[in-house]
């Protein structure tokens, strides 16, 4: 007699409840799920709590939380915005240009599907050229708790699409990305 009720209860439990923001632990978890390394909390600006890491190729990744507040009874800060940024350094400006052009023309899935911004960071004498890929998630009114990890992995997927031809165009990228340059 109790079996149908148990099955129904299990179905309800399996339905994943939406989240309305992210804690620091959520962000750390999303980065750990993405198999990045050197995950570290950035304490430089408490108003923009962020966590940084590096991909297997050495690309810096960070998640900056925004629109944050403490929502009792939970004691931790919960943020309704998450800005995911991955930076692909290039040995020369022309290679950064190629990254942008390649992503805009050939990225799979096309860039527009993923709410992704790509931005050129021009070399200015003191810094090398780079391309920043970013996406800003808004959790207002409820999203699936897996959407943050999903978005991090989407960005990493795009960055990975640039990897082979960047190394082919200039093998010195490997040293630049690993920090040995």
């Amino acid at each position: 007699m109790m079996f149908p009720l148990t099955a129904a209860a299990a179905a309800i439990v399996q339905a994943v409840s939406p989240v309305h923001g992210w804690t620091e632990a959520d962000v750390l978890s999303a980065l750990n799920d993405a198999n990045v390394s050197n995950v570290a909390i950035d304490t430089a600006d408490p108003n923009l709590p962020s966590v940084g890491a590096r991909t297997a190729d050495g690309f810096p990744v960070s998640i900056v939380r925004m629109a944050c507040q403490v929502m009792p009874p939970r004691p931790e800060t919960i943020c309704k915005g998450a800005w995911i940024i991955i930076v692909i350094p290039a040995t020369e400006q022309r290679f950064a240009n190629i990254i942008i052009a390649s992503l805009e023309r050939q990225a799979q899935p096309p860039l527009g599907v993923n709410g992704l911004l790509e931005e050129m960071m021009r070399e200015d004498g003191s810094t090398t050229a780079a391309v920043a890929l970013s996406s800003y998630l808004v959790a207002d009114d409820g999203i699936h708790p897996g959407l943050l990890s999903y978005s991090v992995n989407s960005l990493l997927g795009y960055a990975n699409q640039t990897r082979e031809f960047m190394l082919s165009d200039d093998p010195a990228h490997a040293a630049l990305w690993s920090g040995d340059d």
Partner: protein
């Protein structure tokens, strides 16, 4: 009434009812099989969708943005809302739009040029991924609409001639 025998029976009846079961197991996240499902969501919430060569999403205050959906035969994976700004031949507006994009992570800009006119689009993509509630999708759409006046003002401030072209023309119309 003997609750020990009737209550389990009532529970089983409720569970066996197909509508009740569907409601209980239905995930809270929006799913769209086709574009019209997205249109219906927006129209249920006060927006209008109109087609005149471009598919427009029109807010209750008559502000209009372009609406696109992404997906394939398996379903719709997301949508894009794009506000269009005609900027004449203004180079300052282009620079300002790029600056806005660099300093504002909430939206991207795109440019559309012809020999006759230049247009800047302010866009926000909303990918569904593993799931978004309907309310979250609507919050993202509202976010783009909320950015429009700020973006417009920043372009106008960047180029007085553009501002005169926009707002001067309005005064003449009146």
């Amino acid at each position: 009434m003997n609750f020990s025998t009737t209550l389990p029976a009532i529970i089983l009846i409720v569970i066996a009812h197909p509508t009740a079961a569907a409601q209980q197991s239905r995930p809270p996240y929006f799913e769209a099989r086709q574009s019209s499902d997205v249109h219906a969501l927006l129209e249920r919430n006060g927006y209008r969708v109109e087609q005149d060569g471009i598919l427009w999403l029109i807010a209750p205050d008559n502000t209009r943005v372009q609406l696109n959906t992404f997906g394939n035969q398996a379903g719709i994976s997301g949508l894009r809302v794009s506000a269009w700004f005609s900027i004449g031949q203004s180079s300052a507006a282009i620079e300002q739009a790029l600056y806005y994009e660099r300093t504002n992570p909430l939206a991207s800009v795109a440019f559309y040029f012809t020999d006759e006119f230049r247009t800047v689009q302010l866009q926000r993509d909303i990918e569904f991924g593993p799931g978004r509630t309907e309310a979250n999708i609507l919050a993202n759409v509202r976010l783009l609409f909320g950015l429009i006046p700020h973006f417009e003002a920043s372009l106008a401030e960047s180029d007085p001639e553009l501002a005169a072209f926009w707002y001067g023309a309005e005064e003449n119309d009146q």
